[in-house]
Amino acid sequence: MIGIAWRSICNRWPTALLAVLAIAMSVALILTVEKVRRDARSSFTQTVSGTDLIVGARSGAIQLLLYSVFRIGNATNNISWESVEDIKNRPAVDWLIPISLGDSHAGFRVVGTSKDYFTHFRYGDKQPLKIAKGAIFDDVFDAVIGSQVAAQLGYEVNTPIVVAHGTGSVALVEHDRQPFRVSGILAPTGTPVDQAVHVSLEGIEAMHVDWRNGAEVKGEGTDSDTIRRMDLKPAAVTALLVGLKSRAAVFREQRAINTYREEPLLAVLPGVALQQLWNLVGVAEKALLIVSICVVFAGLVNLMSVLLAGLNERRREMAVLRSAGARPGHVFLLLCIESTVLTLGGIIAGLALHYVLVALGSLFMQNQYGITIGLAPPDLTDLKILLAIAIAGLLAGTLPALQAYRKSLADGLTQRL
């Protein structure tokens, strides 16, 4: 029977190919969407790692995460330098990275920080930041730029840059009296770090030396060397990334910071906050999944329509089989075998197409964002999806098969043309 079914399919290969193609497309789509979904989720949750607490002025956990890690939105308030010193001196604290936001360069955020940023910041699977070219900032007017900043603006080491006040992409007021210089370019990370211009906290202060109450003081301005000799200790920072000596202390430290008496502060666990944020973003992910499920459904409907449409023109074939002794059950089986073969063919072709898409996509991602996507064999979730599609394909085949069964019963041996 399998031989007969196979040769019958080969005889009608153009329509069979279309059905296989439709299933292949839907399989490839749902697998790719699933992969993108999972990779997006993991790259999202791996934007920051190795940090035990994120500290900022008291607001919401998601808001704090958004501006400190994703550099989206603005802080409502700052942390005074005294509080930073207090937290730094707590015995459980191993290291802390100060982050000072509020300025931009050509639409990219300027991040004021310390050298600890480059030694302690971790992303992904606890990977440290790497300098691709040049060196970490040493001078007040040095800047270390992310890979995308360098790529999009065409900056090299030693390119002079001017920083603007405010965070719009159109420079509002430029701090053009104190031009900075690119001292180093970071290797791509696939995180918001790629889109940041990093300067020292002193650099941030230096930019604002001639500013009072948000406006530039008239006059010649202070020259760079004078500024370098000034005391540029920052008065406040926007957020802190804190690393503890022992993770076990994390809840105690969080409580201590949240109940800090001198200033209203908020400490959040990055993992928890990321999860909360993902739950918000997850709606889009679900929509994506629903769309790909619909595509799979469309593929199966197409399979069914190919089989059903074929039935009428195959009535003669059925009658010949019947007159040669095939029972209606055989005819039913024939159609079921056919839908199975088409579904399996579609699944195999779809799997191949999926890998081609992922390979091409990872090439693009590597070039564009420096993110590597691995070509992994199908995991358990993928296999479950494939199994579900296979079963659905079989079910889609039973309706035409049942139709053929009924027709071959009704037609008997007469050959209606």
Partner: protein, 243 residues
């Protein structure tokens, strides 16, 4: 169950009415075909020839009367048994389009052996089924080496009909039913086709029920029956359903 040694087909007091019709299409008092007998059944189109064949092949069931084929009373058979009965005991040849276009000539001939254990067993008695198929094809004067691997659609209609006969004969079913097998052939090939059919039906030891409206063929048969003579239901207006 009456086993009649001399009759392969026996009809008694048969009445058949198509659903929705008032008058019977067939009303046959008695009709039989003997072992190895070659019977020519003629009658104008719409006279119920195909209906009669469908009754003998257990595709249709009569309202009244009894049909016994090869010792089996058809009214004792259930759905699946009818299919098994048909493939085991009856070889069929139709007017045209007897073959599956996507199977080779050999595979088309061997098709009934896939569905009938009995015919498979008979066909493989002295040699393999493939050899038996080849023997039949050669006996039907088909250029075996030439057509073996060609798609059946490239064969002429005459050749296709001879392949169909080879298929009907494989596994030596006791009864061959041929429903207008020559109507798509021209008169020269028609006679040659008949000669080959007779020779092989003889070799297989089967009985032949041959239906045609072409009375010129009747001469070479053992017996010629006009359906209008044996059918008492003569006022037959209903024609389309038997096509």
């Amino acid at each position: 169950m009456i086993k009649s040694p001399e009759a392969i087909v026996q009809l008694d007091n048969l009445q058949f009415i198509w659903p929705g019709n008032v008058h019977a299409t067939l009303d046959i008092d008695h009709f039989s075909i003997g072992q190895r007998e070659r019977v020519f059944l003629k009658g104008p189109s719409g006279s119920g020839k195909t209906t009669l064949l469908s009754l003998i092949a257990a595709v249709l069931s009569p309202q009244n009367g009894r049909i016994v084929v090869d010792g089996i009373s058809l009214d004792t058979l259930k759905g699946g048994q009818k299919d098994q009965f048909r493939v085991d005991r009856i070889g069929m040849v139709f007017q045209q389009f007897n073959l599956l276009p996507f199977l080779s000539v050999q595979d088309n001939v061997q098709l009934p052996c896939k569905f009938s254990k009995q015919r498979r067993a008979t066909a493989s008695q002295s040699h393999t089924i493939t050899e038996e198929a080849n023997r039949l094809l050669r006996a039907m004067r088909l250029p075996l080496d030439d057509i073996k691997d060609r798609p059946v659609t490239e064969l002429s209609v005459g050749q296709q009909q001879r392949v169909a006969v080879a298929r009907a004969l494989i596994g030596r079913p006791p009864l061959i039913i041929a429903d207008e097998p020559t109507s798509a052939l021209d008169s020269d090939t028609r006679q040659a086709f008949l000669a080959l059919l007779f020779a092989e039906v003889e070799t297989a030891g089967s009985a032949l029920l041959f239906v045609s409206h072409d009375a010129s063929l009747a001469g070479s048969f053992d017996r010629s029956v006009d359906l209008t003579d044996i059918n008492a239901a003569t006022d037959n207006e209903h024609q389309d359903s038997f096509a």
